[in-house]
């Protein structure tokens, strides 16, 4: 999933926000007392991290290469429960 945006580098160009198909990112004014997550300016902010489906389109489109997305997909548990059916518990 999306890990972080380097706010020191981000110039708020909006490319990642356009690219994100699930609407994880929003453009916000940060660096103010009520939003002190980075240096002052308009930045892309990870507003809905739980909706990231790790497609990496934001990272590919970032012209400053400041978005980190790892491949550690978090497939929700309901879709991965087959071990308990097994006769022999495999490692």
């Amino acid at each position: 999933m999306i890990e972080k945006i380097d706010y020191a580098v981000c110039d708020g160009c909006n490319a990642c926000i356009d690219a994100c198909p699930t609407g994880v990112l929003t453009l916000e004014e940060v660096g103010e007392p009520w939003n002190p997550i980075g240096p002052p300016g308009w930045k892309a902010v990870i507003r809905y991290p739980n909706d990231c489906h790790s497609c990496r389109l934001c990272a590919i489109d970032c012209h400053l290469d400041c978005i980190t997305v790892n491949h550690g997909l978090r497939i929700p548990d309901p879709y991965l429960g087959y071990e308990h059916l097994s006769d022999a518990k495999s490692a």
């Binding site: 198909p21 809905y48 489906h53 491949h71 978090r74 309901p78 071990e83 059916l85 495999s90």
Partner: protein
């Protein structure tokens, strides 16, 4: 209700969905002189499975005669004989021309060192040829072409419902547009159009799988409400096996199978030929997943994929056409020439590219004015098929043909109604979760649907009681949970809409699963563990029963006309190859 006045758009042709088929249709309709709007929930070239396409089924020559029949046979056998053979023959001939056009438009297909197009082998095809392509690059080309052709592009606008000529759902007279809402601003968009093309792709749950989370089946739901027939819904079971080392997933599975990877169990046996004698390790995703799960259940797990014998050039090609695979391997320190990777499957209620609108040769549905292309159709050439690469190709072919039919229809239609009530209803429904009671987050409702439909014994060993149980659970979620969804902002409103859409599609899938009393392709029924060619060489179609859309769907059948088709199926019953421990046969849950 929305706080904004709607944006009104009047066009000849409305295309819903900005994948390959939608874009090709929009371009073709412009060529024919129609005014065109294309509405996309995300952004063209940044949305949906097309972004992850890495190979496209593309005949390398114009097919005819015996050769054409041989290629049709490949699809017919791969589809367990459910393919519409007329449609397949049309598809195979048209696809040649469509890909010549794409090549001329400058889509960067994989080429060998001397500059020649490189046709590669992928899952599902032994004689059929496939071009290696980066789907995202392909869509960039289409997007530029659409801008040049002055297609009116509406991005970040989610379509909510279709408008009809008689103002009714389901409609008797036909479809005349759609209503949508901008996902960032909330502004309603009302499209009035003389013909509508659905190109909304497959349906997936919210499973955080690369392209899945924003395609819950919008087109399926809208079409069903409008009265269109959906075919092959019983095969709505998707699987993926590429959960590597229990750490990471990658798309690109067809390509990994295509370069000749070996799949082995803990005893070192290559087990897939035992499950699919014809295709072996080139078989479909669901067959792969079932095979792996059965090995695990019977104590021969964990299974792993072995690419150590694959030539370096082929691995290089894999990375080139499926860059995600290369990046993921690098991130997790995997070197396929040295390491093996354990594989784990998952199975979800989702489109495996053979569940959707029933279409004819020109993408037409049974509803006048409504056309469909791509993965939101039943893909008549591979009903329950195993070819991953022929999905985008079919979308391209149908989109192009549908554009011709739509432009012709547009010339015959006069003024369109205003449909104020339908617009208000759709917008009100969308904004309904903006309520006071803060009870359920849309994501939790969606996960609850996933918990019910992803339940392991249901996914693997379906029988009538288990399917019925899932239907009851879905009804419970619809009655108890969905009305309590709370969405504090637009983003969450969209997610709430997605959850409702996916639930309604799941209800259709389970209805069709109950109907088909045999095991074929993606559908395995523990109470009917055999393929029954005497009784079930037919399609199961669902359509809205009447004014009450919540009632169970009307079910009809289409007996396939093999007497006039070249490829004849074997007769009789054939037991399924999947093992099933006795304890799962009867009980509802283990």
């Amino acid at each position: 209700m929305s706080d904004y006045d709607p944006v009104n758009i009047n066009v000849d042709v409305l295309v819903i969905g900005g994948g390959l088929g939608g874009c090709r249709a929009a371009l073709r309709a412009r060529e024919l002189g129609a005014s065109v709007a294309l509405v996309e929930k995300a952004q063209v070239a940044r949305a949906g499975p097309m972004t992850y396409v890495h190979s496209q089924f593309a005949p390398d020559r114009l097919l005819d005669g015996d050769e054409l029949t041989a290629w049709v046979e490949e699809f017919a056998v791969g589809s367990n004989y459910l393919a519409d053979q007329d449609w397949t023959a049309m598809f195979l001939r048209d696809a040649y021309f469509r890909f010549r056009e794409l090549i001329d438009m400058g889509v960067p297909y994989a080429r060998s060192a001397d500059g020649k197009l490189k046709y590669v082998k992928v899952r599902g095809h032994k004689i059929g040829t496939t071009l290696g392509a980066d789907g995202r690059a392909c869509m960039e080309v289409m997007r530029k072409a659409m801008k040049r052709a002055r297609v009116r592009l509406f991005e970040k606008v989610a379509s909510l419902d279709l408008l009809t000529l008689d103002g009714l759902h389901p409609t008797q007279e036909g479809v005349c547009g759609a209503v949508g809402v901008h996902v960032q601003t909330g502004v309603p968009h009302v499209f009035r159009a003389k013909a509508v093309l659905l190109c909304t792709g497959p349906f997936y749950p919210r499973m955080h799988y690369a392209f899945a989370d924003h395609i819950p089946g919008d087109g399926h739901r809208m079409a069903y409400r409008a009265g269109a027939e959906l075919a092959g819904m019983e095969f709505g079971q998707f699987a993926a096996w590429s959960y590597f080392n229990k750490k990471f997933f990658t798309p690109g599975q067809a390509k990994i199978q295509g370069i000749g990877a070996h799949f082995k169990n803990s005893l070192g046996e290559r087990f897939m030929s035992g499950y699919d004698p014809i295709w072996g390790e080139q078989t479909g995703l669901i067959q792969m997943a079932r095979g792996i799960i059965t090995e695990n259940i019977e104590g021969r797990g964990p299974c792993y994929v072995d690419m150590r014998h694959v030539p370096a050039a082929d691995i290089e090609m894999l990375y080139q056409v499926a860059p995600t695979v290369g990046r993921a391997f690098k991130e997790f320190g995997v070197d396929p020439s040295r390491d093996t990777l354990t594989v784990n499957p998952m199975m979800v209620l989702a489109s495996n590219s053979s569940s959707g609108l029933r279409i004819g040769l020109d993408g037409e549905t049974n509803v006048p004015g409504l056309y469909a292309a791509g993965a939101c159709t039943c893909l008549p050439h591979m009903m329950a098929g195993i070819s991953g690469s022929a999905i985008s190709s079919a979308s391209l072919v149908t989109g192009y043909r549908a554009a011709g039919a739509m432009a012709a229809r547009a010339a015959t239609i006069g003024r369109l109604p205003r449909n104020t009530r339908q617009v208000d209803d759709a917008i009100s429904r969308f904004y309904a979760p903006r309520q006071k009671f803060r009870l359920t987050r849309p994501a939790d409702a969606h996960l609850e649907i996933g918990r019910v439909t992803g339940e392991a014994t249901f996914a693997l060993f379906k029988n009538a009681p288990r399917i019925q149980h899932v239907r009851e659970e879905l009804a419970r979620i619809e009655a108890d949970l969905l009305p309590k969804m709370y969405a504090p902002d637009l983003h969450e409103l969209v997610k709430a809409h997605d959850a409702r859409t996916y639930l309604e599609v799941c209800k259709l899938v389970t209805s069709a699963m109950l109907e088909r009393t045999e095991s074929r392709a993606e559908l395995f029924r523990a109470d009917y563990p055999f393929r029954d060619n005497d009784n079930w060489l037919k399609w199961v179609m669902l359509s809205a029963p009447g004014e009450d859309l919540a009632a169970p769907p009307r079910v009809t059948h289409w007996d396939l006309p093999f007497e006039r088709w070249p490829i004849k199926p074997p007769r009789g019953c054939e037991p399924s190859t999947y093992g099933m421990p006795e304890r799962f046969r009867e009980a509802r849950s283990a």
